[in-house]
């Protein structure tokens, strides 16, 4: 029997206990041993809960219990999660976490400690909720170099953008609806400003390119400027607007960003709607791969955590991830990457403006005193120079 402790008995943590109890036999078969949640750490009490008698308040009761060999961390944030996880690893316990903030901020150090202590530090659930993407990246995509990794990594914003596209609502109305449905938080900034997606694409990029990416280095823009008019143009062009986290290997370096993009119908992520997430992995030999599923939610995310628990039980000798080389991946300056831009320009159709942007395709919406076009490929720096000269109402990258 393998004894397991859960740090943080909220939504995901209680989901982990549910999955472990509900699928006990199946998991024992896969793991080669029964896995029993013996203890949860939480500040609150849980009267009436199945773990009611097993709630502790002191992390040392877990760290110093030699019988607990696997710890699940589902507290979120870095304080005190970082100290707790580090203490557990140093005590020779495997740790599986769903905490993207912790992994993005302290991944290399925690992986190095895990390596030294010959235990696992695993974080399948930190990106893409229930979607297996961390383990496929590390154990399945081993025969080809990754040229691009791009994800729809935030269910809240994807729900909002999908609703805007389908219902024609404005941003503020959709945000309110998402909050009422519990998809968006009262302070929605972590989602709508792209910070959540930024940490996730930093983790994926680190794994894809083999050197750790500092999430602070990733140019990050959220969806707050996307309007119902932008959506109307996208619909007219048969395109969709999505929030992408993306890293791409180009001739002059690796570019990474979080930003809204417009994509065509033939893009593999075009049909990823609502709260669903997906990750596209591109290589020159393997072609395009895409992994799709529930990007959040108590039980899907909990199954991802438990898949790490099973992996730790099966491979108790150490981590299947990393360690990473010293130093961080130096990203190319996002402002230099050439992209095609969707542009809305105020006023009557204006040939001079079209020429200036090298526009090939023009789109008009009924009843609007403005026009839209797709630019020639140009960097953000070049674009910025033109934005000063023409009355551009909005600009959105086109992703191929």
């Amino acid at each position: 029997m393998i004894k397991l402790a859960v740090l943080g008995y909220g939504n995901i943590g209680s989901g982990v206990v549910s999955v472990l109890l509900e699928n006990r036999e199946l998991i024992a078969k896969k793991a080669g041993d029964e896995i029993v949640p013996v203890c949860v750490l939480d500040l609150r009490d849980y009267p009436g809960d199945i773990m009611e008698d097993k709630v502790v308040k002191d992390i040392n009761l877990i760290v110093n219990d030699p019988e607990i060999s696997i710890v699940v961390e589902t507290m979120g944030g870095t304080k005190p999660a970082y100290d707790y996880v580090k203490a557990c690893l140093l005590a020779g316990k495997h740790v599986a976490t769903s905490n993207k903030a912790l992994v993005a901020a302290h991944g290399p150090e925690l992986l190095a400690i895990a390596k030294e202590k010959q235990v696992n530090f695993l974080f399948e659930a930190s990106v893409g909720g229930g979607i297996p993407i961390i383990r496929p990246l590390t154990t399945c995509i081993t025969a080809d170099a990754v040229n691009e990794i791009t994800g729809i990594l935030n269910g809240t914003t994807n729900f909002m953008l999908t609703s805007m596209a389908e219902e024609g609502c404005a941003y503020d109305a959709i945000l309110k609806k998402a909050q009422e449905l519990g998809y968006a938080e009262r302070d929605p900034s972590a989602d709508v400003e792209g910070h959540d997606a930024c940490r996730k694409i930093a983790i994926l990029s680190s794994l894809a390119f083999g050197t750790w990416v500092d999430y602070n280095d990733i140019a990050t823009e959220g969806i707050t400027k996307i309007s119902d008019v932008d959506m109307a143009y996208a619909r007219k062009m048969g395109m969709a607007i999505k929030l992408f986290g993306t890293s791409r290997r180009q001739a002059d370096g690796i570019y990474a960003m979080v930003s809204p993009v417009m994509i065509r119908k033939n893009h593999p992520l075009f049909a990823v709607n609502g709260v669903m997430n997906a990750v596209l992995v591109r290589g020159s030999m393997m072609g395009d791969l895409m992994f799709y599923g529930a990007g959040a939610g108590k039980l899907p995310t909990a199954t991802a955590v438990v898949s790490d628990v099973v992996a730790a039980a099966k491979n108790p000798q150490g981590s299947e991830i990393g360690p990473f080389p010293e130093g961080k991946l130096v990203l190319a300056d996002q402002k230099n990457e050439k992209r095609v831009w969707f542009l809305r320009i105020d006023g009557e159709l204006n040939q001079e403006a079209l020429n200036a942007f090298g526009a090939a395709e023009v789109v008009l919406l009924d009843g609007k005193k403005e026009f839209a076009c797709l630019s020639a490929p140009m960097s953000e720096t070049e674009l910025d120079g033109l934005l000063a000269k023409y009355p551009v109402l909005s600009h959105i990258r086109i992703a191929e």
Copy 2:
């Protein structure tokens, strides 16, 4: 240095050598050792090829070479692949194969031999070409029971159905085009009759449900009866027609089949078009997962084979798959599974027929002396009884 031999130097086999040479450093890093193709077995000679001097005609030169530790089998078919692979496993060599016919027919025996000899028998490339699906099923989806596994598993038929939908062509014209493009073979029956998809869903179902499925037990129907008129109705209803290989756990047993289905726009496999493949995995806790990519093609398939080679190099102690329990999975009789059916009925709109089929939704096409409807859920046995009484022109299952 790990020495590797390739059995069958055709499209996939030569792709494996290309991937190993092209990505040599990356693969050495992932595998922990350099992997060198030292020998290929083929009846033909390959003058001018990089492996020109390394072609052998006698399998015993490989079986009896103690320095060759990994063998890739890309011959296809079961004769002589079965004898060769068995001999290699018995000689203590790891085998990675792309051969679905071999795995579907002899998987349990070969996995048992691999287990006994403490080597790997791996077959990532046998299903879904370059898509990682075998390893995710065995090593990632370990925390929840699979309730359904459904795939678009054959690129040829998916290309044909997509072209029929997009271009409005008839079946015969599209088959000719697919043959000209090299997507369909001169004798297309393995693809269009569903036999290829049948072997693949048998392998996936075996892994998903933990007991081997005999592909001969899977009710299999191809796409040869799908007409341009069926497609026109599907388009009018906003639906798509796909060839599914599927297994579903129901209250009365596990049902498996290969057949054309109609799906709505919100189905995760709706947007899988052209030669692309995808596999949907459904569980009660993890929700829907989907794995998408190139289902065929020399290099994508070769990267999947090489990912198995890397896995064998990293885990030389034995197979990550199986072994399977004795005996085969007894499937429920497909004719008893209740489904909603799309029905085209000859003649004027006929209320008696609609009532008989419990039809809720009626569709008419301009200029056709027929009508279409969606039936109430009923088994194929019940449907067969009604087909004798009404002039049904075509019937296609609806998949939810």
